[in-house]
Amino acid sequence: MLVLGQDEKAKYPFLADAGEYLKDKGFSLVQFGSDPVLKLSVEKALHRIKVAAAGEVYKSDLIDGQASKDYVLEREVFSFLLAIVLIKLTGMSTLIKRFALAEARRAENYLEKDLGNASNKSKIDLATRIIYDLFNIEIVKENDFFVIPVSDYLIHSVTFHEREWKLINRHVENGKVFLTPDKTVRLIRKELGNYISSKIINAPKPSMIPGLENIVNELISLSKKLTPTYTITTGEYPPCIKHAIDVLEKGENLPHSGRFMLATFLLSRGQTVQQIAPLFKNAPDYNPRVTLYQLNHLAGTSGSTTKYACPSCEKLKTQDLCFITKECDNIINPSQFGKKRKQ
């Protein structure tokens, strides 16, 4: 197991053993319900969860991964560990998912910075050690790049839809792929999220801590208000649509043409405007009123009565929205996907 310094624990709190950490510091969980000073950490934990629930990444009090005061570092770790305790107490899986995602993003930022920190070898070492310990990928620094075996690269990148991630679009030499720090970290994003959520899921559920009941209840009602993340049964959707949903679920920006494709496709599959609208919720520029208006327009339920059809594969190719695979099987429009063509 990695030996971490205090500031490293603050950056990568999921590496710390919760129980041990508290014991080390001489605290028990129950104290957090009553002790007014420790309550600050509880508030911070609550804030951390709320930020994650809103789909954002919590900004810590660290500056460049450092803090001037020890207690700041300590509170960083406490708030993470407490956040997990609180989430466990709510028992809400939506919160687990969102929190893990946000924390993974946060860790990703630090890993990227540590890898890119050319002047500090120990930081690079730590980041590569974390990646090796957690995901069993051996990364070696070579000049400005990180090199990893082609097979490892393929195993992790094969689920990415962007053409940029195809092996042919990477520099490959001697059985190794050359990556910049940000790509290196991007490669393990999903695993990082999975790692953190499995840590939360596998953590034992504590019994209620007196004094925290209100906070837990607040979180439960917050979680209920969250629209459940749009889960789809994959397989029946073509790659272009899966990709668009992926992008939105990650809170990344999908160009207008992509939103048009997605909405018209789902409408053509008989989904209602109300079912589709929540999909766009994570988009950086989300506005519920505008989204509903636009969707209704596409569906032909408002204003004009024209119903818009999903663009052709050919058109989507020119818009860089096509991620064709074998399963597309020569169809000319995504809406034909998976339906056997009549001869």
Binding site: P149, V150, S151, L154, I155, S157, V158, R163, E164, K166, L167, I168, N169, R170, H171, V172, E173, N174, G175, K176
Partner: protein, 374 residues
């Protein structure tokens, strides 16, 4: 195929297997492989066979006198169970290069059409010259050009495997397939355990498919000439430079042209790199991790030639080096409108005539349905 032909082929194959069992390649970790075989005139494919060692393999040949024998590139815990219960462990990386897919202009000169309706045999045609039927079976007697072109593809592939993918030369084995191409095996590589999707990415890399302009320095916005590849670079950057720029002195001028022509026409450049420098392998073969392949050392019943290891590819000549059947002469009725060469001897053309041929040549024609035992 009639009884006499089958008996003739079985006899000559049997003699080969008896005399040349040393040529049969017993794969490493034999007991983890799936074997399969077919017999003459039987549509049935015997698969899901597991064998302990070379002795059991020998027995399979002697007891069944198969027309074709196959072995998996995959290793399984239970090779003789049905496919979904075999418990796949890993698989050697395998590539298939076939002259048929290269579609060279010479091909029409050595393809024979056999009419399914009236059995008329003629040079390559789309319609039977006798009964006008379009139901034709094509048989190719590949020429030297085809073999040489396939060798070039094998070399392209080997270079990418060695330089880019870090494979040791000793772990690459090139086999003549016994008919129209080559099978390239890669053993003990970092890719043993990767699945079908990952292998398909490797295929795209080797064939140069799916490249985007940005990878080779061409940007949509604010293009910048300093981003283009250079000659001394490894991998596709270097190959791109060699093909697109030609020589160091032309590089600068050509970059200016590329920038002038713009982003969207750059795709055409990439397509031409794929055509010229990508290795023309069969993608489906490499992606399939449950396939069985003709066993090295066994005879290909499409030709009577042996699937054999090419130790020196540049000198390899399938029509002498893969031709192992004996030269006892037999009487056949031959109908083959084109000439061919085996063991440095010229044969044909034959116009539906009785002739006496050495066994290896008779087998070659009978396997291609261009002769029968008289």
């Amino acid at each position: 195929m009639n009884e006499n032909n089958i008996k003739f082929l079985e006899d000559s194959f049997k003699k080969y297997y008896f005399n040349h069992f040393n040529l049969i390649f017993t794969p490493q970790r034999t007991s983890e492989r799936e074997f399969g075989y077919q017999k003459f005139n039987s549509g049935f494919f015997n698969r899901h066979i597991s064998l302990k060692d070379d002795k059991e393999l020998h027995l399979l040949f002697m007891q069944n006198i198969p027309s074709d024998v196959y072995c998996s590139n995959a290793y399984y815990a239970f090779p003789n169970s049905p496919m979904n219960e075999k418990d796949w462990k890993e698989a050697d990386l395998i590539f298939d290069i076939d002259a048929k897919d290269l579609d060279l202009p010479c091909r029409k000169n050595h393809v024979v059409s056999i009419c399914n309706e009236c059995n008329e045999i003629s040079k390559d045609t789309n319609q039977c010259v006798k009964c006008n039927s379009t139901k034709l079976e094509k048989k190719s007697l590949p020429c030297k050009l085809c073999i040489n072109a396939s060798k070039i593809e094998v070399n392209k592939l080997s270079n990418i495997l060695i330089d880019d993918l870090g494979i040791d030369k000793e772990n690459i084995h090139v086999y003549f397939s016994g008919n129209e191409g080559f099978h390239v095996y890669v053993f003990n590589s970092q890719f043993q355990k990767i699945g079908s999707k990952e292998r398909s990415e490797l295929v795209d890399y080797i064939m140069f498919r799916g490249a985007i302009p940005e990878t080779f320095g061409m940007k949509k916005f604010k293009p910048n000439r300093s981003l283009f590849p250079d000659f001394n670079q490894k991998g596709w950057n270097g190959r791109f430079s060699k093909q697109v720029f030609g020589s160091k002195s032309k590089r600068s001028k050509i970059i200016s042209e590329l920038l002038d022509n713009g982003y969207s026409s750059f795709q055409k450049i990439l397509d031409s790199v794929a055509d010229n420098s990508g290795a023309k392998i069969d993608p489906n073969v490499t992606m399939d991790i449950h396939r069985i392949f003709r066993l090295p050392g066994s005879i290909n019943s499409k030709s009577g030639l042996t699937k054999i290891l090419c130790t020196d590819l540049s000198k390899f000549d399938p029509y002498t080096d893969a031709c192992f059947l004996n030269d006892e002469s037999v009487e056949v009725l031959a109908n083959c409108p084109i000439e061919f060469k085996l063991k440095n001897k010229k044969f044909g053309p034959y116009n539906n005539e009785k002739t006496s041929l050495p066994t290896y040549a008779a087998a070659y024609l009978i396997c291609k349905k261009l002769a029968t035992i008289a």
